[in-house]
Amino acid sequence: MTVDSSTQDTPKTGLSTKLLAGSILGLGGGLVGLFQGLQSGDKAPFLGWLWGCSFWLSVAIGMLMLIMIFRVFNSKWSPVVRRQQEHALSAFPWLALCLLPLLLVAWFGKDQAGILWSWINPSSPTIEVSSVISVEEDVLHQKKAGYLNLNFFTLRLIAYFGIFCGISHWLRKASFSQDKDGDPSWTHLGTKVSAIGIPAAALALTFGAFDMFMSLEYQWFSTMYGVWFFASGMRAALAVTILICLYLVSNGKLKGLFKQAHQYDLACLSLTFTIFWAYVSFSQYFLIYSANIPEETFWFTIREIDPNTGVRSGWFWVSMGLIFGHFFFPFLYLLFYRNKVDVPKLVFIVCWILAFHLLDLYWNIIPGREIVPGAFVGYEARPVIGSHLLWGLFSLVGVGCLCAWAVIRSFQSGVAEIIPIRDPRIRESINHHE
């Protein structure tokens, strides 16, 4: 059970360099996009950047929530898995850094300050019914200005990442310190941090989703949105956790420690959150569909049809893809026991879920109303394929490589054993049985 640090370090140093190079290339490309966007007033690179960040942010938030849930339930099977997730938490400060350019543009972008979040600039044009007005003339903004203003927005973002990084720090400290001295009070500390951390992180992720993603179309509102982001993040985090653990089994580090029972339970949780995601996403649609209020329905309309012609747009097929590819297929697939315990079958479906999670975020972040003066309704819906996708891929790769680098560095730093060897629950976790 001891970790041989000499064999752990050598082969992966090359990987770290490659990841760092990948992140510099990806983020560099994305930054070039942001500069171009600022010059030409093009929103696409900003949307792409946000999309790329959102994917990794959702994974990290899901990891954080899972660890805290394991902690408060004092679950006996989880410690072997939890340690891998604790390493993943080291990505949070870097995620904050990746979002910083968007905030800097909001502060120092002058007349382009509202390029991503139009409400930041009071003179940005916006749509009311089908006429173009400025944000400050829009009654829907006036009523929300107490919340949606740059100072408060900045404060909130700092608070969210303060919460994420702070909880991560304490959870990692509680777990890693126990490896050294075996003091059970570290377990109590972890439980206490989690008990306070769950509501704090839940609020941070909910309002974070409101601020960063929902406010892209600030007229629209949905109380389900935060829950949707939570459910998505849990699905993504479970998928990444399964991949990390199975990788560590395949290279021998967790062989015999991460058992079929752990894999089965993580897969069951994946099934649970597949259903939960569908429940939340459907409820959001269902309530807006039933109420049928234009302030709310336009958000779904631009994801289904071309608002000027009423013809189905590319987003319709993305929406259908989400219903069948992100819910029905994984749901039916994960119902079967064999698909949860056979390693290749499970790897297939978690990769599938991650791909569709990426599409889900794309569907939530990218579509929007582009003001076009001659158009019948005064605007056109942003298309599925566009430069936002290209810029998005840059930031997706860049942020991903940066996070992977941070996480691998945490794995290699030797701050912790491969499993929490002195956790009071570790024996039960190793002997976990279906």
Partner: protein, 183 residues
């Protein structure tokens, strides 16, 4: 036992620890018995694999129940709103998979639960008011501190003498033939 009629039910042996039961169960399986059962006061992890049991078939009943429920919900809504008494409510279509989805969903859950419960009853042949194994004088202690293996007469490999001897060989105590009295 002389003046009441009885039916020979099984050979039974008791064990004093979970480990003895676990080891003996492996031997019974390897000997090729198929119609036999273990009794234990505590859950013994891995015993089903040791006994050569496949996974339960209850989930099939659950799935069948769920699918039935989903389409029953659809049928109800379609029959009432589209076929038998079309009525416009809130500008919604007569039939659509969206607005009545909660109905499909609830019936899926309900019928899946029925499938699970009644599937379990069916597979376990419940309800069953009495069981011949209760005739064994030590059986009550399998709820306390004893473990038991019972090999039924129905098993094709069963043989009065050989099976009793075999149970003794694998470490069974209080080995005896269980007879179910009938009158």
């Amino acid at each position: 036992m002389s003046d009441t009629m009885d039916i020979k039910y099984a050979a039974a042996a008791t064990f004093s620890s979970a480990k003895e039961l676990y080891d003996a169960a492996g031997k019974v399986k390897d000997e090729g018995y198929s119609n036999w059962e273990c009794f234990s006061p505590i859950p013994v992890h891995g015993l089903d694999a040791q006994m050569g049991y496949a996974r339960s078939k209850v989930p099939r009943f659950t799935l069948a129940g769920g699918v039935t429920g989903f389409f029953t919900g659809m049928l109800i809504v379609w029959f009432m709103n589209e076929f038998d008494y079309p009525l416009i409510v809130g500008g919604k279509p007569y039939f659509s998979p969206i607005y009545p989805f909660p109905v499909f969903y609830e019936l899926t859950i309900l019928f899946a639960a029925f499938g699970t419960l009644f599937g379990m009853f069916f597979l376990n042949r419940l309800p069953q008011h009495n069981h011949p194994v209760f005739e064994h004088p030590e059986f009550g202690r399998t709820g306390d501190d004893k473990f038991m293996i019972v090999i039924e007469v129905e098993d094709p490999k069963f043989d009065d003498e050989q099976t009793v001897n075999f149970l003794k060989e694998v470490g069974g105590q209080a080995v005896q033939i269980i007879r179910e009295p009938i009158d």
